[in-house]
Structures are given as C-alpha cells and as structure tokens.
Amino acid sequence: MATNGHRQPARRAGYPAKYSALGLFRRGLTHTEWPPAWRAHPIKRSYDVVIVGGGVHGLAAAYYLAANHGITDVAVLDKGYMGSGGSGRNTAILRSNYLTPEGVKFYDRSIELYRTLAADLDYNVMFSRRGHLTLAHNDSSLRTMRWRAEVNKAEGVDSEVIGPAEIKRLAPFLDVSQEARYPVLGALWHPPGGIIRHDAVVWGYARGADALGVHIHQNTEVTGIDVTDGRVRGVRTTRGDIATPLVLNATAGWATLIADMAGVALPITTSPLQAAVTEPVKPFLSTVIVSGTLHVYVSQTDRGELVFGASVDPFTSYAMRGSLEFIEGLAGHVLELMPALTKVRLLRQWAGLCDMTPDFSPVMGPTPVEGFLVDVGWGTYGFKAGPVSGEAMAQCIASGRTPEIIAPFGLDRFAEGVLVGEKGAAAVGH
C-alpha cells in the first residue's frame, strides 16, 4: 500500500470493515448489509478541536489531525449534510499548473496526496490523471502560459506549451481551425492534471476520520462563537453549546459569517459560480479542456456526461440559483470549441458559492483571535487543495506554528500588502 510519507493509522478493530475484492464477493453471495461508513454520535459538551464545515477541507483537516498527530477529540460540524457545499458543487478538476512558485508548490503537494488517496483512505476516489489542456486564443494568454510553464518546470511540475497540431491530436473534437471566432493559438499542456469523484473524496475522508475517533455532526449549525479576552472559549450550535479552545473555520460561502461570529474581518466577497452537466454520451474527450477567453471548462466523466464550469457570476450574492443567461452563454462558448456537440442536451445546472479574495489566493492560518484559525477564501480553486489544506491546517493546529507551505497565505498579508497574485492562473482555469 502506498503510504505517501504518512504514518498509517491503526483502525479500530472490526469497524469499519476494510473494503476488498474478497469482501465484495462474499457480500455478493450472502447479501449481508454493509456496515455504515461512519457513525452518528451524541454531541459532546467539549472537544479539543471544533472544525466548522464538513466539506473536503474540514474533513481532511480532521483526518490528518487524527492520523498524523494523534489528536482525535475533534468534532466536525456542518449545517447541512457533509459535502453539501462547495465540495459537492465543484467540477472535480485537479491540477497544479499555477503561476506563482508559492501556488505551484502548494497545489502540487495536493496532487501528490490525491495520487495515493484511494490507497491511504481505503476508498475508491476514482482519480483519473487524464491531462489538463488550457487553451490560448490570443497573444497575451499565450505569454502567460509560457510564464506558467517555466514556473511549473522550475518547481518540477510537468507543464509545457504546445501548438494547434498537438492539441488536435490530444482532443480531435476541438475546433482548432483559423476560421473560428477565437482561433486556438496554443495551449498549456499539464499531463498530471485530471478529474476525480468529489463525493468519494468527502466520504473517504469522513470514513477515515470517523474510524480514528473523530465525531462528525451533520445538520448542526454554528450560531455563535464565544470569545473572551481575545481567546476562543467555545461555539454555540443549534444542538447546544460546545466548549473548545480551538475553532477552525473551514467553510466556503459562509466564511465571512462564521468569522464575524469571532469578530475577525476577512477580505472576502461571495459570488455564485454556475456549472452544468449534459446527458451521457460515448467517451470522446480524454482530457480536461479549459478556455479562459471563452470562460468555460469541459471534462467528460466516467459515466460519459460532459461537465461544464464557468467563471463566477458578475456580482456578489449568496443566492445559489441558476440563470438562463449563464446557460445561453455557456452553450455558445462550448459550441465555439466543439461544434459537433450541437445536438447534445443539458441534463441540469447548479450553482455553488465562491469566496473570492483580492489576489485569488486562499486565507489560511491564525487570526488575531487566539484559537480561531481560518482555512477560507477558496474562490474557485478550493476542491483541488483539499488534501494539502487539511494536512497543513492539521499541522498548524497540532504544532501551534504556521507550516512553511501555507506561510504565504496568512490573513496578515492584507494588512502588510504582501499579496500572492494568482489571477492569471486561477481566475477561470481549473
């Protein structure tokens, strides 16, 4: 089994069962019930660590706290069901071809963790490393891609700029002719990128954390955070108060509202991002295709559906509703890229909330309130960073120090004016 540098946790005897081919065969013969993948616990009145937000970030932090640092008196609270926010609404694209050395290093660690996640968690997360293609339709994007490719190579990440002939070979259905409204001039080809099943990542972390003793409380909304003398004392929830010296805000969409409870100001605005999926068709698209100019990214799932994403809606809002303008614009842009899709029908569309920061980089680490940590501001790039954020935040909580890998992303960078500008690589490309 791949260990990925982590100590492998000792699972509780008999619970939950390790998934195996033999077990599947035996249950297929005997029709016995599968044990639940995680348990529901009565809520305790105190925990060592309370994590607000049961998405991939919160659950990964809980899992690594238990697995790497032996801290198991941890509660993960979510106002809905786990993975009901951004973790279940993103387009499940993984990549590390960012623009700044800080960003590339950080996201590459995440891809490394994702690579062995199925073995580490004993849970099939269906990571398909099919390659990631970011198209350039004008000189300035081609220039940015060269820049990104060089930064990536310097950090040891596989990225290169390729021309239209090579693009056509990788994605034959793509219109790379010069007659297109926005002709494709080149692309940034990033072979380690790919897609994964986002729900499975959430469930795998939940199962792993639960097996190590973490309590996951779904449908438990945090209504307040008690802070006295600049220190966190506890959280108030719809299921009663919990005393705790440490709260991690791992929410997306509602990050500002949770931080407000602790009296911490954030540089965040929240906007919805819409996505859509088509009916399933036969496999024809083996890479992830992104076009910043056309504001669209496309990938084909294992079931054959085409998943489309776009940039955030043009104004701030907490409303998670789809709009007709979005679908109209999206369809036009997709057809620009792949005219053969004219007869394909859309199955559904949805929206998720994105916490945008001024520099398109996250906000991680301690805040002016002692014991209140943040892992927020994940804009449109949070899902791919789940494992590394969980690992780094767990280390931050256990050691009381900010790990080097997240040091550039501290909240204090906004007061000091030291921003980590990722707009060129994070704004639409996923």
């Binding site: 605005t269 929240t270 043009p314």
Partner: protein, 90 residues
C-alpha cells in the same frame, strides 16, 4: 434575467451594469496609515442580507447608482443616484 432599476434609465438588464461593490467611504489618503488604506482596499463586510452597494451603468447612461439589495434573494429595495464619482468608485 435580473432587472436593475437605474436611477436614470428605469429597469434594465443587470448585465448592462458593472457591479462596483459595497458602498464604502474612502479614507483621506493624506492622513490614512498604510494599514487603514489596505483595510479600505481589501476588507469587505460581505453581508448576507440587505446591503448598500454601488453599480455602474456601463452599457447605458454610464453613471453610478447606489443600490440597496438583499444578497440572499437579490431583491432590490431602493435605487438612488450615487454621489461624486470619486466616492462611488471606491
């Protein structure tokens, strides 16, 4: 389509406008400390509920308006002409 009633042009498609952001007051650049200035640049209320914000009617009268909007329902309560451009553009 979301309609935004411009103070000058009446109800128009929200796509004609540019969302400038929360209505804030700019600190005096001569006296503000770098920290105050950066807080003004970066920190946001990001209210979930009624908020007052500035929109720019870029594909219409090209003037700034002050809008009271509910960020959860996108309901609009009031629209008025915004003040001097310097204040309206943050």
């Amino acid at each position: 389509m979301i309609l935004l009633p411009c103070a000058w042009c009446g109800p128009r498609d929200a796509g004609e406008f540019h969302h400038v952001g929360e209505a804030t007051t700019r600190p005096d650049p001569r006296t503000a400390s770098p920290q105050e200035w950066r807080a003004y640049l970066y920190m946001r209320e990001n209210t979930c509920g009624w908020t007052t914000e500035t929109w720019y009617h870029r594909m219409g009268c090209r003037r700034f308006i002050r809008v009271e909007r509910h960020t959860e329902t996108n309901e609009i309560r009031s629209v008025t002409a915004a003040g001097a451009p310097a204040e309206a553009t943050r």
